[in-house]
Amino acid sequence: CVPVSQVTEQDEHDAESYLKRFFNLTEEKGPTGRRGVSAVSSKLSEMQRFFGLQIAGTLDDDTMTMMKKPRCGVPDTNIAS
């Protein structure tokens, strides 16, 4: 069976920083979205879609590995503003 992912608190913190930097994740205010999908989850899905990963909306080993890959520092969401 696939090894159980070891997502640590540090991983979650790093992932939030990554999503803020590159996918325009903003601080969550008030109740999460109508469907209870948190902003982090929907931004994770956006990142997973962008990078051809399994779109699960949750942090998995693949996604954490991809967040550590060397890249350009310009955000991936449209940043016209």
């Binding site: 696939v2 990554y18 590159f22 962008f50 990078f51 051809g52 990963l53 399994q54 779109i55 590995t65 967040m67 550590k68 890959k69 060397p70 890249r71 350009c72 520092g73 310009v74 991936d76 449209n78 940043i79 016209a80």
Partner: protein, 373 residues
Amino acid sequence: FSTFGKNLKWEKNSLTYRIVNYTPDMSAPEVDDSVEKALQVWAKVTPLRFTRIDNGTADIMISFVPQEHGDSYPFDGPGVFLAHAFPPGPGTGGDVHFDEDESFTFSSNTGYILFLVAAHEFGHSLGLSHSYDPGALMYPWYSYNNPDTFVLPRDDVNGIQSLYGPNPDTDGDIDKPEPPTTPDACDSTLVLDAVATLRGEMLFFKDSFFWRSYPQSNTPQQTLITNFWPEAPTHIDAAYESQQSDRVLLFKGRRVWAFSGYDLVRGYPKSISSFGLPKRVKKINAALYDVESAKTLFFVGSSYYSYDEAKKTMDQGFPKRVDQTFSGLTGEVTAAFQYRSYTYIYSGPYMFEYSLSTGRLFRLLNNNYFLRC
């Protein structure tokens, strides 16, 4: 491709640039040359022209800076961010900052090739945002490319020409190199290089790319092979998952690479003769692992061999003719794999669905049947 919207582009075709400081990683002439070549990548396909100045303020100011450097987008030390750039405009518009804490190089494999990073960042300086195309220069991740043979991919050419148009001096020039394109899963003429399973997923290889098809998701996701396996070859001949050893094996020419997860297994690449294939075999066309018998079939031209994964030896009585076992399969095998007890053999743009135990052909399908077009 994507642009920054609001038509963020330069309203002139002659732009100035200035290298404000240098990195100790490379000689000054190497930095000068890398920057100049990176700008020429874009000049070649547009009316844009670049002039270097060494004093005052240029349209594109280029500097090497660490950590927090005054633009509220701090770098992260040796790590993920290599550089960033600003869209066209006054002031910091168009400027490029390289993370001084990263290791840049002129052409070697150790460190990030400055030419490649710069060419990407200048794409931003001219108005391009990131591309979804994993083969594009404007894809966010760094991936190694030989700077001496680099040709701007089609996606990037389309992007920059949507802003500035083609290069009037060479447009229509027949002997300029054709921009590489990224394989399209829905191209009906697609002939896959190889197909394999990986822990329940399916991997479809073509040129430098592969598509990953997850059981739960609708669309397969395309990425560069080297994004997952930096040491892997591209344009491979064959691939299979050895469920015996929980490895994916990639074949190209006389060599085979074995990966466990993301890691190249120690001792690989090896020669394909290490399986016991005859020395005269120069390459294999396809490979498939049969779960029921724990045998791996290697397809070579119009024949195939059987390899016992448990005993690690070739089975006696082979090679056999492919059409002896697989009825109706007269063309060369290009890829093969097994999925949910069915055996799929690709020959050109078609995929044959068999039961391996009976040799019975069930369906003749298109190459992109699993790519869900």
